[in-house]
């Protein structure tokens, strides 16, 4: 659905933020975009929303450049930004004004989510806390039912019970027609939702793999003595966890934090193992 090829971006007089980015995003998946601070995650999300334009290369949705900002495309994209200003309107006026831009918007779904987030339609947006405003936008974004839903740090500002609520809502929001892309640092909040990992580093894509290929090729945990030869990356602390070549070991759950650290410290090493094909999954 989304195709990015050879994309480069820099802000005026700034250094290169994104360099030669090529990525594909397909419906039915929840993508997690990770990277250290300043690696261009939010910039990439804005490029995908048509809020910034690539300097080189392209970013297309259904084979059309998003930067053309055609109505047909924009009505199928919704972005929940990290920082935002909302007008001094009540929640229901906000809905009435903005919903018509999204043909598949569901009012029922929106108000159900608003209720689930313990908000009231008559509440003024300006009187809400940051976390509550974010909930309004998340509810709106899901109810908009766009083909592409972009979220930049969606769980920032959410309180403890809302994070679990957010995961439940997201789990029910994915369907085969939707593509969800989330950029975040909050690995723990979203780990169980994401099924594809993209990691940015030094302005490039240094990792782009589905969870299933990661868990097929890598093993996460505390290695026993005889497993030490297979260690690809280990936490430097005593009794720390490590990433190993899985080989014949039993499948483990992907440890995103560990994977991230392993990839950032040595992308080539991890990518080589994942791309190796000589390993027979049934062996």
């Amino acid at each position: 659905m989304i195709q990015i090829r050879g994309l480069g971006f820099q802000y005026p007089k700034g250094r290169t933020i994104l360099n030669d980015i090529s990525l594909d995003f397909t419906p039915g998946n929840i993508y997690g975009v990770f990277g250290e601070n300043g690696e261009g995650k939010s910039t990439l999300i804005k490029l995908m929303a048509g809020l910034l334009f690539p300097k080189i290369g392209y970013c297309q949705i259904s084979s059309q450049d998003i930067s053309r900002r055609s109505i047909e495309n924009l009505q199928e994209i919704f972005l929940v930004p990290e920082d935002f200003e909302l007008p001094a309107l009540s929640i229901d006026s906000f809905e009435k004004i903005n919903a018509p831009f999204y043909p598949k918007f569901s009012r029922d779904q929106f108000y159900q989510l608003i209720q689930e987030f313990k908000l009231f339609p008559k509440e003024k947006l300006s009187a809400l806390s940051f976390g509550q405003k974010k909930k309004v936008l998340i509810a709106f974004g899901i109810a908009a039912n766009t083909n592409l839903l972009l979220m930049d740090e969606p769980t920032n500002g959410l309180d403890i019970p809302s994070k679990s609520q957010f995961r439940r809502i997201m789990a029910s929001a994915v369907d085969q027609g939707k593509c969800i892309v989330i950029s975040t640092h909050q690995v723990r909040d979203l780990h169980s939702l994401i099924n594809h990992v993209v990691i940015l580093g030094q302005s490039k894509v240094i990792f782009d793999q589905s969870f299933s290929s990661v868990s097929e090729k890598l093993w996460f945990g505390r290695p026993k003595q005889q497993m030490m030869d297979e260690v690809l990356y280990a936490e430097p602390t005593f009794g720390g966890r490590a990433v190993l070549k899985r080989e014949n070991f039993e499948e483990t759950e992907v440890d995103l934090e560990l994977l991230f650290n392993a990839v950032v410290s040595n992308p080539d090493k991890i990518n080589t193992v994942i791309k190796s094909t000589h390993y027979d999954a049934k062996a």
């Binding site: 679990s164 439940r168 789990a171 029910s172 994915v174 169980s192 939702l193 099924n195 868990s215 483990t252």
Partner: protein, 126 residues
């Protein structure tokens, strides 16, 4: 649901199914929650939940009626019992034996403790 760190989430969902079947919460030929309902319940990506369903279907613990949903198989309970027994004897017991040797616990002590436990349980039932 609290996920244990090492085990793949889909297998933890499988365990959750096993438990419901073993305590007879989900009976034979009874309809169980859908993939989506399970995904929401345990807060995971529906693809992960769907993998648990596929796994259970391959083991013939559950079956699918097209357009209606998933059901516990006729032999679902027995299949689960076999699987969990094998796991207990093959994995949990050796761990326990290892610990018994390490702590020098006699088998006799374990037996007494077990008999006492069985007695307590049957007393409670009365």
């Amino acid at each position: 649901m609290d996920f244990d760190n090492g085990k793949p989430i889909y297998l933890q969902i499988v365990d959750f199914f096993y438990e419901n079947i073993l305590i007879r919460k989900w009976q034979e030929n009874e309809r169980i929650p859908s993939v989506r309902e399970v995904a929401v319940m345990v807060e995971v990506n529906p693809n992960t939940a769907s993998r648990a369903f596929t796994h259970l279907q391959e083991l013939e613990v559950i079956y699918n009626k097209r357009g209606i949903g998933y059901f516990v198989s006729e032999k679902g309970y027995h299949t689960v019992l076999e699987i969990k027994k094998k796991e207990f004897i093959g994995v949990r017991l050796p761990d326990m034996f290892k610990e018994m040797m390490l702590l020098d616990v006699e088998f006799e002590e374990v037996k007494n403790s077990y008999d006492q436990y069985v007695k307590n349980v049957s007393d409670e039932k009365k």
